[in-house]
């Protein structure tokens, strides 16, 4: 037995790059293959035993870090990794995890770093947001899209430029306070400026049951200003909701929004944050239909500055949809292209989608030095992504619809939108495009 042990201890160990101990030697610069082969067998054995535990620990630590870094980053992580992922860190990933993974992470860091710079300098476009979609969370992309605006605002504040309201005559006059000094006015007097009421507001108001009957008047309440013509019934104008305020006069469209149809009625939102907050407050099973309207791209629906991918949309709407409820992504290419077609317009849309979402980013990546295999894998996966189908698998039972093609909305055309006055519409109206709907991942007829 002792002889056999002596023989095995004396056997030389060949250099093996797959073993953690050898990776450890390479990282620390202890040995390379040549130096290892020259080492006596006993010393080799001792060296392996000495570093074994440390090598395994290092391997586990690098793999854990890589797992965290390979997930989609939020805005904070994007900034952190853009700074922290230096050559040393990346070399560790190449060594301990694999060269393909290392290259992918390096590419991710390069793209995110350049987009962070671009976002601060000139803002990012829809195509940039699409390029970032595999790497960042939708919230992070939303934040990047608003970075330029925030930077400009900060610069203006630094330069001492006072923020102005709309430059109309009526608002200009608000600079001068027409009544007595504001400091000498109490709340009652101040409110009179707006209501025109001469009542002091000090007298007690009695509310009796009779006064509150239908058609009854509250004491002291003035009748609405009726028109002189008796045949014309006075209808006080309804209060504008948030989405309908401040209409644009631009020639081009800035239409986007979220429309929520629940058991309690329909609401529209321009800001995704408001829509998200409203949806979170809703009871389970109350959403009959929700329409996300804005620019779309394979795997992503944008709504103004906000954006949704299948994960964020499913998370938001899980449990909220009524039975047979519909989630409509009203954005271009929010479903896959589907099968062959004889419709030439659909064919042209397919060609355009392939060119814009595969060929263009593929050659851009190749020009940036990304290996062909990696660029191919990434964009072949991305150009035909099906947001509607993926979301339907996350929101069980709901019907999720998207567009297989570029969706043309006549009301968005420059000039037409100005004529119609719908530059800031929150719903698309008629969309010329091929719709596809899914329920639990399976295609179903359009409801």
């Amino acid at each position: 037995m002792a002889a056999a042990g002596a023989v095995s201890a004396a056997a030389a160990v060949p250099w093996d790059e797959d073993r953690p101990e050898f990776k450890f030697f390479q990282e620390k610069g202890h040995y390379d293959e040549e130096a290892w082969d020259k080492l006596p067998a006993e010393e080799q054995d001792n060296a392996l035993k000495t570093v074994k535990e440390a090598a395994l620990e290092r391997q586990a630590a690098v793999r854990k870090d890589y797992a965290a870094a390979s997930r989609k980053w939020d805005a904070q992580q994007a900034r952190y990794y853009a700074d922290a992922l230096n050559n040393r860190e990346l070399k560790a990933v190449y060594l301990w995890v694999g060269s393909a993974e290392g290259h992918e992470l390096a590419h991710k860091a390069t793209v995110v770093r350049s987009m962070l710079d671009k976002a601060a300098a000139e803002g990012i476009k829809d195509s940039d947001a699409q390029a970032l979609a595999p790497y960042l969370t939708p919230e992070a992309i939303t934040q990047l899209r608003s970075m330029k605006f925030a930077a400009d605002l900060a610069q203006k504040q630094k330069a001492g430029i006072k923020a102005k309201g709309p430059g109309s005559q009526s608002t200009a006059k608000l600079d001068k306070f027409a009544a007595g000094a504001a400091s000498k006015m109490d709340a009652g007097k101040l409110s009179n400026l707006y209501t025109g009421s001469k009542a002091s507001g000090d007298a007690a108001v009695e509310l009796s049951a009779g006064a509150l009957k239908a058609g009854g008047k509250l004491p002291g309440s003035a009748a609405p200003n009726a028109t002189a013509a008796k045949t014309v019934k006075y209808i006080p104008p309804a209060a504008l909701d948030e989405a309908n305020k401040a209409k644009s006069t631009a020639l081009t469209s800035d239409a986007y929004g979220v429309t929520l149809e629940t058991t309690e009625g329909t609401k529209t939102f321009r800001k995704t944050a408001d829509a998200d907050a409203a949806i979170k407050k809703l009871p389970p099973g109350s959403v009959k239909k929700i329409t996300f309207y804005g620019h779309g791209s394979p795997g992503m629906q944008m709504v103004g500055e906000g954006s949704y991918d299948s994960g964020s949309a499913a998370e938001l709407l899980k449990g909220k949809m009524a039975k047979g409820g519909v989630i409509q992504f009203a954005g271009c290419n929010t479903a896959s292209i589907g099968g062959a077609t004889l419709n030439p317009a659909v064919g042209i849309s397919m060609v355009a989608r392939r060119l814009l979402y595969f060929s263009l980013p593929y050659f851009q990546d190749r020009a940036d030095g990304v290996p062909a295999a990696q660029a191919k894998e990434q964009w072949e996966k991305g150009w035909n992504a099906d947001l509607a189908q993926e979301t339907s698998m996350g929101v069980k039972g709901a019907i999720v619809c998207g567009y297989r093609t570029f969706g043309l909305v006549p009301g968005r055309l420059p000039g037409v939108t100005a004529l119609l006055g719908n530059q800031e519409a929150t719903t698309p109206g008629y969309v010329a495009g091929k719709k596809a709907c899914y329920q639990d991942g399976k295609e179903v007829p359009v409801p």
Binding site: K125, D126, S127, T252, S253, H295, C332, P344, A345, I348, S349, V351, A352, R354, L355, L356, S359, Y362, F363, R366, A372, A373, K376, F406, L408, R412, L413, P414
Partner: protein, 77 residues
């Protein structure tokens, strides 16, 4: 090899919308409108010119459609 394949694919995809326009122009030249005093065109010549016109104008409509799609992609509309 991968790059070559995709370059060829891109050339074909970019060329595809121009094919009906080119075919339409060729057909219109092959079957020109009847000049004054010339014998009236045969039904076959009429059909050829009609197909040429259809291909030409549908092709131009297709190109305009692509322009709109690209503008949409760039976020202009």
């Amino acid at each position: 090899m991968t790059d070559l394949y995709y370059i060829l694919e891109t050339i074909l995809l970019v060329a595809a919308p121009f094919v009906p326009v080119a075919a339409g122009v060729i057909l219109r030249r092959k079957f020109p409108a009847a000049a004054e005093g010339a014998p009236p065109p045969t039904p076959g010549q009429k059909a050829g010119r009609l197909v040429g016109n259809l291909l030409l104008w549908c092709g131009i409509a297709g190109l305009l459609f692509i322009v709109i799609v690209v503008l949409n992609f760039k976020g202009k509309i």
